[in-house]
């Protein structure tokens, strides 16, 4: 049998606000590196081929299926996982709080991915129609919720963010 020489590469990137470096097997996915080397266990594996969205993380503010990303592509990137949204004293972010309040969580396995895409949506600072939101969130599969309460949660979180921005602007004036 042909012997494969395992190749490793060292990557440097920002993970949840902290600069990190890691030597990884060049074949490893970003999902694997985040789970296995950094214990970011919120990054879930549902298909590992980009169909379900459970492994979504933010890469330079863009929601990406981390299973489709090679770990080595992390070089120089700013990567955020669900772990980054929790405050220093365990406070939930607005999106997380809205998911909790709206019963948008059941088995919880798709939840981290959904919350990261919702976070991406909120950070755009824009308003969306329901149809637009459905489209933006449609890269995630959920078998428990029928998506209904997830939509409610995301809409509520957007509203919350808008009020906060408005309040900020007003206090700046």
């Amino acid at each position: 049998m042909e012997k494969h020489q395992i190749q490793y590469q060292t990557v440097h990137f920002t993970l949840n606000g902290k600069e990190v470096e890691q030597t990884v097997d060049v074949r490893a996915s970003l999902t694997d590196m985040l789970r296995n080397d950094f214990h970011m266990l919120s990054v879930k594996k549902g298909c590992e081929v980009g169909e379900c969205g459970a492994c979504t993380v933010l890469i330079d503010d863009e929601a990406i299926n981390s299973c489709l990303w090679l770990a080595v592509w992390a070089e120089g990137k700013n990567i955020r996982t669900l772990e980054s949204l929790v405050g220093p004293n365990g406070e939930l972010s607005d999106v997380q709080q809205c998911f909790v309040e709206e019963a948008a969580i059941q088995c919880g396995f798709c939840t981290p991915g959904f919350i990261m895409t919702a976070q991406e949506i909120i950070e755009t600072g824009k308003e969306y129609t329901d149809d637009q939101l459905r489209k933006l969130l449609s890269g995630h599969l959920c078998r428990c919720t029928g998506y209904e309460n997830i939509l409610r949660a995301v809409k509520k979180a957007i509203k919350k963010a808008m009020y906060k921005n408005l309040a900020k602007e007003q206090s700046a004036e």
């Binding site: 919120s42 939930l92 088995c107 396995f109």
Partner: protein
């Protein structure tokens, strides 16, 4: 009993951990250094493995062990997550080995590789060379029943796993009545898969001479029994731990790969072995929903009066028995109950075929049967020009109906109440009139379907619930049960019910979510929409005992007569004047640390349940059909449920959303396809298998009719599975309303519509 916390929405007890990604699922608990197991699946659909060459696989660096179907114990075992029966005639069919020489579907398990990492395991699996003696295969149950069809299990001639008949009155005589109109239809439902987002995963290792199994399962205690049966290990030598699971929907109400991994660890000296299904394996090598073909013949008078009915059902059980006959039997049993008829003949068949094993899936035979019966009911209305709602009101199971076998009773006018509510929400009457006699390429339609669902499994099987409650020093309650949280929210409902049943604040109830068969009292787990109904009875019994103990200690401590003591919201109250004598925390501290008379306060009970409850409801769906494009779009939908009193309205609504979503996929898009020529699965991935996405739903509307169920102390009954039952038939009936075309197959996708519309002359090539 106080009613302070039940009946109101409360945040899920696991919401914070799940929102922060801290909730641990099987793979999240995996220690470093695990060995990775991968499975070699058969590359033929039916035949015998003659030999397996493992030499190339064993040579892959990192491979620890390769084991094949020639190495496994010569034990056949059952996999179904039913409560075990000590009566051999009621035991589940034991028809598979850990790995099989006689392979019965494309993807059967023939060998495993255990390696130090997943790359080595995957490479090695690819290098396993199996030689087969191929046999002809059969994919369709009615073909499989024919003489000369390929024999799948030797002990089952014509591949009939089971056949049951039932009759009421005299069908043959009744149909001789002059002037009866015969209405007949064949209704077909597809093979679909549960598609929980977490694939099934399991790891096992030896500890102190026993095997510890950590699994993504709905049924930890049952899995322990099956791991013992499959491997020959004493049951007490196996410990099963169930952490949070990423959905189950019935697939994980089977022993999936726990027995194989239990055996695997014993083959590598007890080292930790981890196996996780890939999504492609989940579709094929776990369980699927039975595809059922239903043949209904109704004999009715001109006014629609149902005089006689015949129902035949053919369930595609696939390659192994799993839940056996129970699924089609549940559906078949519902036919003469939903629409009572004086003369009935029913036959139900479970048939082995060379397809993936069918097992439990949300609804357990009812989505299939409801699709058939409710499509057929609309066919009767169409043929006799009757109003579908009025006809249902006239012929459905009436208030006061009692089923002789289960003794279940329809205590209320549930169907009419649910229909009234759904009609209101949907503005049904107006739309039904408006959508008559449409022409043109785009047409709207509105359709209704009712459903019936039996809670839990009594009297078919054992129903019991074991509960342990422990009072902590601060007066909080630790609650343990064998009934499992699988996403549906039962832990939260339990915490609310425990708070009310014991008499403590909700915040003082700590539900131990993780089941561990070493410490969790025996319970069969999550299935049959039983967790809230059965769990509440277990809670009521255990709380009664715990309160008795607490009040006795309160009497000992306060010297007040026990008759005038009560525990309310965590405080010992003298009922005569309402004075708070002490808190439960004070009582527990004193009791535990007393130098005179020390007690830890705990109660543990088993509650066997010999009653049961019907759950009811309906769905109304509205569609827009684009005839030239052969597309049906769901535009509005409501489910109305009478599941008794709600324990947690918000979570109840969420539960219904999920079921409706599954029903929408069932009606319009989902089906697992197989190549007729090879038996190979064609779309076993989440790209080609059309699971409903965010874009495929309109707003899901939910309403409840809360008739308190008399057989339950909290007035609750089944809600988990029912929402998935009526949706596909409501959509189907809406499409018929729009186009006048009766479609007797689902999913009703563009392929089906093209064929049906062409035959109906609505589109011309």
């Amino acid at each position: 009993m106080q009613k302070k916390y039940t009946g109101k929405s409360a945040i899920r007890v696991d919401a914070y951990d799940k929102a922060t990604g801290r909730a641990k699922y099987v793979e999240d608990m995996l220690p470093d250094g695990a060995l990775i197991m991968k499975i070699a699946h058969s590359k033929i659909t039916h035949g015998y493995v003659k030999s397996i060459d493992t030499s190339a696989a064993e040579a892959v660096p990192g491979v620890v062990k390769v084991l094949t179907c020639f190495d496994v114990p010569d034990i056949t075992f059952p996999t179904s997550g039913h409560p075990w029966s000590t009566d051999p005639h009621h035991q589940d069919v034991a028809d598979r080995k850990l790995l099989n020489q006689h392979v019965r579907y494309y993807g059967d398990d023939i060998a495993i590789v255990i390696a130090e990492n997943s790359v080595a395991a995957t490479q090695a699996v690819r290098l396993i060379k199996a030689e087969y003696e191929e046999l002809p295969f059969v994919l369709d149950p009615q073909e499989a029943m024919k003489d000369g069809a390929p024999q799948i299990h030797e002990e089952y001639p014509n591949n009939i796993l089971a056949h049951t008949s039932s009759s009421i009155g005299n069908y043959a005589e009744a149909i001789k009545e002059p002037g009866l109109i015969k209405i007949e239809g064949w209704y077909r439902t597809p093979t679909v898969q549960h598609c929980h987002i977490e694939n099934h995963g399991v790891y096992a290792y030896e500890e102190n001479g026993r095997v510890v199994v950590v699994s993504s399962t709905q049924i930890p205690h049952i899995v322990r029994r099956i791991c013992g049966q499959a491997t020959g290990l004493p049951w007490g030598n196996i410990r099963v731990i169930k952490p949070y699971i990423g959905g189950g929907f019935g697939n994980k109400q089977d022993a999936l790969y726990e027995p194989l991994v239990t055996w695997a660890t014993t083959q590598v000296g007890g080292r930790l072995v981890h196996f996780e299904c890939e999504r492609e394996e989940t579709f094929v090598s776990n369980r699927v929903r039975h595809s059922i073909t239903t043949h209904l013949i109704s004999w009715v008078r001109e006014d629609g009066t149902l005089v006689a009915r015949k129902g035949e059902q053919f369930a595609n059980s696939g390659s192994y028995a799993s839940h056996g006959h129970s699924i089609v039997a549940k559906g078949a049993g519902s036919i003469p109950q939903l629409y009572p008829v004086p003369n009935y003949e029913g036959d139900a068949y479970s048939i082995y075929t060379n397809r993936p094993t069918a097992g439990a899936m949300r609804g357990y035979g009812m989505p299939q049967t409801t699709f058939a019966v409710e499509s057929h009911t609309d066919d009767i209305c169409k043929q006799l020009n009757l109003d579908p709602i009025e006809y249902r009101r006239r012929t459905l199971m009436p208030q006061g109906y009692v089923d002789n076998f289960s003794k279940n009773e329809q205590y209320f006018d549930s169907f009419n109440q649910c229909l009234d509510e759904a009609i209101k929400v949907m503005d049904y009457d107006r739309k039904y009139e408006e959508y008559k006699n449409q022409t043109g390429p785009i047409r709207k339609g509105i359709g209704v379907s009712v459903f019936w669902y039996n809670t839990a499994v009594w009297p078919i099987s054992l129903e019991s619930c074991s509960v342990r409650m422990i009072v902590n020093q601060d007066g909080s309650i630790q609650y343990q049960t064998g009934e499992t949280e699988i996403g549906q929210g039962c832990d939260t409902a339990y915490s609310q019910m425990v708070a009310d049943a014991v008499g403590v604040p909700l915040k003082d109830v700590h539900v131990v979510s993780c089941q561990d068969t070493d410490v969790t009292p025996y319970g069969t787990g999550a299935y049959a929409s039983r967790q809230t109904y059965i769990g509440s009875l277990g809670i009521a019994k255990c709380a009664t005992e715990l309160r008795k103990k607490i009040l006795q200690i309160a009497h000992d401590q306060t010297r007040m007569p026990i008759e005038i003591l009560d525990l309310v919201d965590g405080k010992i109250i003298r009922t005569t004047d309402g004075r708070v004598l002490e808190t439960l925390g004070d009582l527990a501290m004193e009791s535990l640390y007393s130098l005179e008379d020390s007690h830890h306060i705990t109660a543990e009970t088993t509650c066997q349940i010999k009653s049961n409850a019907y759950s009811f409801g309906c769905c109304i769906a509205e569609v827009e059909v684009d005839i030239p494009l052969c597309k049906a779009k769901l535009t509005k939908i409501v489910n109305v449920h009478d599941c008794g009193s709600l324990i947690n309205p918000q979570l109840a609504e969420a539960q219904v959303h999920g079921g409706m979503s599954m029903g929408i996929g069932y009606g319009l898009s989902e089906q697992l396809l197989f190549d007729e020529k090879t038996g190979k699965p064609l779309n076993n991935n989440l790209l080609d298998y059309k699971l409903s996405t965010f874009m495929d739903h309109p707003e899901l509307e939910v309403r409840f009719i809360e008739n308190a169920e008399p057989t339950n102390p909290f007035g609750t009954k089944a809600l988990g599975e029912p929402p998935a039952c009526p949706v596909a038939s409501a959509i189907r009936n809406a499409i018929r309303n729009a186009t006048d075309v009766s479609i007797n197959v689902c999913p009703i996708n563009p392929h089906v519509l093209y064929k049906e519309f062409t035959e109906a002359g609505l589109i011309v090539d």
